[in-house]
Amino acid sequence: MDQHGHGHLGDELLRLSEVSVRLAGREILHGVSFTIRPGEFTGLIGPNGAGKTTLLRVILGLQPAASGTVDAGGPLRTSRAGRAGRGGRGPLIGYVPQKLMIDPDMPLRVRDVVALGLDGHKLGFRFPSRARRDLVSQALRDVGAHRYADARIGDLSGGEQQRVLIAHALISRPHLLLLDEPLASLDMPSAQGIVTLLARLAREQRVAVLVSAHDMNPLVPVMDRIVYVAAGRAAVGSCEEVVRTDVLSRLYGHHVDVLRVHGRILVVAGTGTGTGAGSPGEPGVPGVTGAVAVHAGTVPDEAGHLATDEAGHLGEDASPEPLGPARRGGVA
């Protein structure tokens, strides 16, 4: 144990142990445990409302975990910035949040946004220097955004802004890059482009990447590990280990089928009896029973995700039904 009482993490960047997470007073995730090592590409996958964003916020230190520990030991940093809000000497984390609504008025060019990634957390005024300008240009080239370096940030499309924010997060050379649903509002080619970019950056700059998404398919080729969250719990492992009928059925608490169709993965509520745990009222499983769980890889979420209310809580509207006579789930 070091002086902060944290376990020594060796070469791990981040370790979550039995973390549970609350949103608006309700526990939406519990017992989440996984580690991230330098250079790893991890996918945080799950349907909308499963608690992915909240978990990321806990990792960043933006809100506290309801229980469990988030350990960010690891390589010592001399820079104060991005230390996951924990006051320790954690790894440097770069963060790309979900869907920024950027004002058209915002007096920031693309290169200004990226420059803020270097020192946006500092007081005072820095006169522009050649060195900084070059750093910014290089970061923009790395993400393929150099063409519009002088455009106003509010003028860009979603995909373009995404790239700029990635450059902003990367310019301070973080150890870990966190992206919250970066692919959600992009079309297929753009999403593919971002994934390719992230994989390349992870390789070239030895940055660990943690990406949350509700559709795992674009990420399957590049993920080293998947953290699959659903029904309040998480399953951790490689894609082959986790994305399987028996594992996910146990996770969801009722039968789901994992289908591989034309190289894509579909998770679909199936017929047949329930497997394993998950009867109504089981402690720790929020009331997901009989709700149609359709987690289709390539179909928009509107086609039936778990019944959630606005705050992403599960089960408030799902009427409890006994397992057994199966609900026919729609195939998306």
């Binding site: 809000g85 007096p107 005024f125 079309d187 753009s190």
Partner: protein, 321 residues
Amino acid sequence: MGHVLSYVFAPGLLGSGPVRAAALVGAVVAITSGVVGVFTVTRGQSFAGHSLADVSTAGGSGAFLAGLSQFWGFLAFGVGAAAFMELTGVQRRRGRDVATGVVLGAALGAAALFLYLGAETTSRSGASFTVLFGSIFVISPATVPALVACGLLALLTVVALSRMLLLSTLSADIAAARGVPVRAVGAAYLMALAVAVSLSAVVIGAVLSTALLIGPAATALRVAKSPGRAMVTAALTGLAATWAGIVLAYDSYYWPPRGHGWPVSFFVVALVVTFYLLSYVPRGRAGSGPGRRRDGAREGPAAPGGHRFPAAGAPAGRDTG
């Protein structure tokens, strides 16, 4: 040429003590308001900025009632209201606007009372006008150093915080994750705003200080793309409007109705609004409509001044894909 100059600069202008004081204080106020205003507009706090001005009216009229210098009254109420707003900060934008409006209403009610009582107890009946519309030509020389100091303090605070403010306005989450004390930065900025607004309330009146806060900043945001350029442009625009306003107000002494003079606040506001409307005159390549483009199909960086605002209510940057 000399004849024209003497027509514009009426006799005695540059030699007049009150005018010089007005020019100095006006300059400080204009520059401070312009720079602070850039952040006010960007953060969508125009109503809060305006309300602080009106709230400080209550302070000014209270000070008038108590026989104190109006500036300190403005300042006390302005800063107090800002603190109150920060403490009771409501998350949703609309909730915040309504709360601001209610505070504004209550403060104006108090102002009504103070002015009424003031008029009853003293015989100075012109107080309504000066409190509401400014008294730049009758600033007592004793308060000039205090005014200038306060202005510079507010200006320096905002400049020092500018990067953190920009980052937290771009995304509060990114800023917080980077270790920026978002709440504290916002509060400090609100205080600077209150001071800037109180100052301009003294100069051109509580009711019109919004003009110096919002006008030059809105103009600058239309023509400048980077934060530094926006702040400089706002400062210069405000300065030009204020100085020209002072000159014109002085000259207007000779305009009908003779011997009366038109209020400086009118000129300043008229100029500020004129500059803003001028910024709509197309410059260079006009923008091609709302800022939605297919990813990867952009034609290149937008020309300066060619920026187009998307239709009201439509957030920019949402991918069409």
